[in-house]
């Protein structure tokens, strides 16, 4: 009678264990790395119908964010500017530039420019711009260095963990309200003092953001 198991079978359990260990860890690492918003969202850069550059308008020309996103201090929603806002200037400069053909068409016909939305929280999340902007939280914390972007790119994960990190420790991010749209501002402030003086208490209970 021959042996039922060949000799190499002695190490098989070990090999299976090592193999399973490797595969399980790789799968775990893959899920952790790839299936979170840090991967799925960050870097999303849709192609926009017009090559509008924040680097030119915000950084080079120094236009304040609120010239275009004029509702950001008043409303939960930060509006994308109407084509008439572009035409304020572009009826004077680059009047006949082909890059702006769509803006002129939209201005004349009243049909909206089909900008592609970049940032969006799920519909079950309650988000509000004005509470943040009027409490000294700058655009840069949630949108990155928009003023240096040729195309708008999703720079932060905007996941629940991301929101809560700041709601637990706003003193690290807070700054004087008039500097909110100065994305390059790097000065130092006494965050603890501001949080205390303005009585800033970002909610952490579920109903703050899920209502």
């Amino acid at each position: 009678m021959s042996f039922i198991f060949p000799k190499w079978a002695n190490t098989l359990p070990l090999k299976v264990a090592v193999g399973a260990f490797l595969v399980a860890n790789a799968a775990g690492a893959g899920v952790w790395y790839y299936l979170t918003p840090k991967y799925t969202r960050v870097g999303y850069t849709p192609k926009q119908p017009i090559a509008f550059s924040h680097a030119i308008h915000s950084d080079q020309l120094g236009i304040d964010c609120r010239y275009c996103h004029s509702a950001v201090e008043k409303s939960w929603f930060s509006n994308i500017p109407a084509s008439s806002t572009c035409m304020n200037c572009h009826s004077l400069v680059l009047k006949d530039d082909p890059k702006l053909a769509l803006v002129r068409e939209s201005f004349q016909t009243g049909r909206s420019i089909p900008w592609v939305q970049v940032h969006k929280v799920p519909d079950y999340v309650y988000f509000n711009h004005s509470v943040h902007v009027n409490r000294g939280i700058s655009c840069v914390h949630c949108h990155g260095q928009i003023n240096h972007m040729e195309e708008v790119q999703h720079a932060k994960p905007l996941s629940m963990g991301f929101c809560l990190d700041c709601h637990r420790a706003p003193e690290e991010k807070i700054r004087p309200v008039e500097l909110v749209t100065q994305l390059d501002w790097k000065g130092a402030v006494n965050g603890k003092q501001l949080v205390h003086d303005w009585n800033v208490k970002p909610g952490q209970s579920c109903s703050t953001c899920h209502r």
Binding site: K15, G19, L22, V23, A26, G30, Y33, Y34, L35, P37, K38, Y39, T40, R41, V42, G43, Y44, T45, P46, K47, L61, G62, I63, D64, R66, Y67, S70, F77, N79, I80, A82, S84, T85, M87, N88, C89, S91, L92, V93, G110, R111, S112, Q117, P122, D123, Y124, Q153, H154, E178
Partner: protein
Amino acid sequence: MRYFLTLFVLAVIGVVSALGFRGDKSRKPPRMAEIFPDLNIQPKLRPQTVTKFDGFADGASSRVYPVGTVAQKVGFLDNTTWEDTAINTGRDAKGFVDSNPVPVTSELLKRGQERFNIYCQPCHGAQGDSAGGIVKKLGATSVANLQDQRIVRMNDGEIFNTISYGKNTMMGYAGQVPVSDRWAIIVYVRALQLSRLGAKDDVPAPVLEKLK
């Protein structure tokens, strides 16, 4: 085992090269929502999006007023003033009002400074003299100089009208600048003009000493 390890390494390399790294630029919309829709996309309308609702023929979720709509109580601060009062139009029965109907305070002036620097400075420059205005730099010669005697002598009401509805090649700012801020901006424009109009005699003697 060797085959397994080679396959394993190849698989890892394959996945990483196909999926890339965190933060890589990507043109495709984030996928998560489509695999598990959950409550991510609810049948409610968000501003500035597209809708298939039949009632909205142009397909826009943000609506504009129907043609001919007349607002009754709009405008200043608490929405209780009638639309055709001087504070909302810059006019009274006799024409453009002479001076600002809003009480001038230092807060109003501060607010005006902030708003001027957001909405007017790009063209008219930080001093209102249109030097440094970006549009002028690029060859648009028509931007008015707010330090001009003509505008110094202009009624507040007429400037209000210019901000609201524009003038010649300047377009109106009614959509971006609410009524209260328009009056605040006018206060600041007046302050800018005063800063250039001052004479030596206006400076108190002790300060004048120090300036020399």
